[in-house]
């Protein structure tokens, strides 16, 4: 039996909200990173659920691309984080304010 697509959409919305709230609440740059990954994943779930809904593979191709971009984002982001730790000795984003006007 096929489960309704809306269940998956609601779950994805919940996970996305938890991730967004984490970005707003936490000050550890690493945890903010993980929350962003979680939000990307919830959007992937949406795309795959809708790909099944419409019987089209394009949604899954899109998710494949998103996974590659997420991997690139994590590599560069963590490198930036390490470079920042070298200079400022902190991963608290309240103290990373060099570009603040």
């Amino acid at each position: 039996m096929m489960l309704e697509t809306s269940y998956y959409l609601v779950l994805a919305a919940l996970i996305f909200t938890v991730g967004a709230t984490g970005v707003l609440l936490r000050r550890n740059a690493l945890i903010i990173f993980m929350c962003i990954e979680m939000m990307l994943n919830s959007v992937n779930l949406t795309l795959i659920a809708l790909a099944r809904q419409w019987g089209d593979l394009e949604g899954q191709i899109f998710v494949f691309m998103i996974m590659a971009v997420a991997a690139a984002e994590v590599a560069v982001g963590l490198a930036i984080l390490i470079a920042n730790v070298r200079h400022r000795k902190s991963i608290n984003i309240d103290e990373i304010n060099l570009l603040k006007w």
């Binding site: 690493l30 994943n41 809904q53 608290n92």
Partner: protein, 181 residues
């Protein structure tokens, strides 16, 4: 209640609980392990959605690659900071929770309003999603985006190398972050 619904509710509950664990854990290592749980349950849901190839890719790329990378960085810089310092500003937590609630209400309204309306007939069961079907689509119709992704990954690799490289003359390694320094 059908078995598939029961299964979805169980896996979805674990997934949501893991997501909450990522946000509320005090130790970054615990957050990373909760994140791993979240990714694994999502891979299970992908299988129930007939996306077998992406379920495997999810486990390999996210669980095997990204979480390990995050764990390595946690080990490197010792992220053992109790960082609920956002609560030092009294309004911050309230505003964060309020904005999160608004976002949840908005998103669930758009979904629930759709659910209440007349349901269209759902499309036929997607038979694709196997590695064969996804591979054929990737290497025929979507071969250009596929090559561009390869280029993007190369650029990201070089960028990460340049950013993470040790400065000339500074040979003391990566300093670790002390708790609440």
């Amino acid at each position: 209640m059908s078995w598939s619904l029961l299964f979805f509710l169980l896996v979805g509950a674990v997934s949501l609980a893991a997501a909450l664990g990522v946000v509320t854990s005090r130790q970054p290592v615990h957050s990373a392990l909760f994140l791993l749980t979240n990714f694994a349950t999502l891979a299970v849901l992908y299988i129930t959605l007939d996306a077998q190839f992406l379920a495997a890719a999810q486990v390999i790329v996210y669980a095997g690659g990204i979480v390990i990378l995050i764990l390595f960085v946690i080990m490197l810089i010792g992220g053992d900071t109790n960082d609920f310092s956002a609560a030092q500003r009294a309004w911050s937590r309230t505003v964060g929770i309020a904005l999160g609630t608004i976002l949840l209400l908005t998103v669930s309204y758009s979904v629930l309003a759709r659910m209440a309306g007349p349901s269209e007939e759902t499309a036929a069961l997607l038979q694709g999603g196997t590695p064969e079907a996804v591979g054929i689509a990737l290497f025929t119709k979507y071969v250009l985006p596929f090559e561009l992704i390869a280029l993007l990954l190369l650029v990201a690799l070089i960028g990460a190398l340049v950013l993470g490289r040790q400065q000339e003359g500074a040979g003391e390694g990566i300093p670790s972050v002390k708790a609440n320094e």
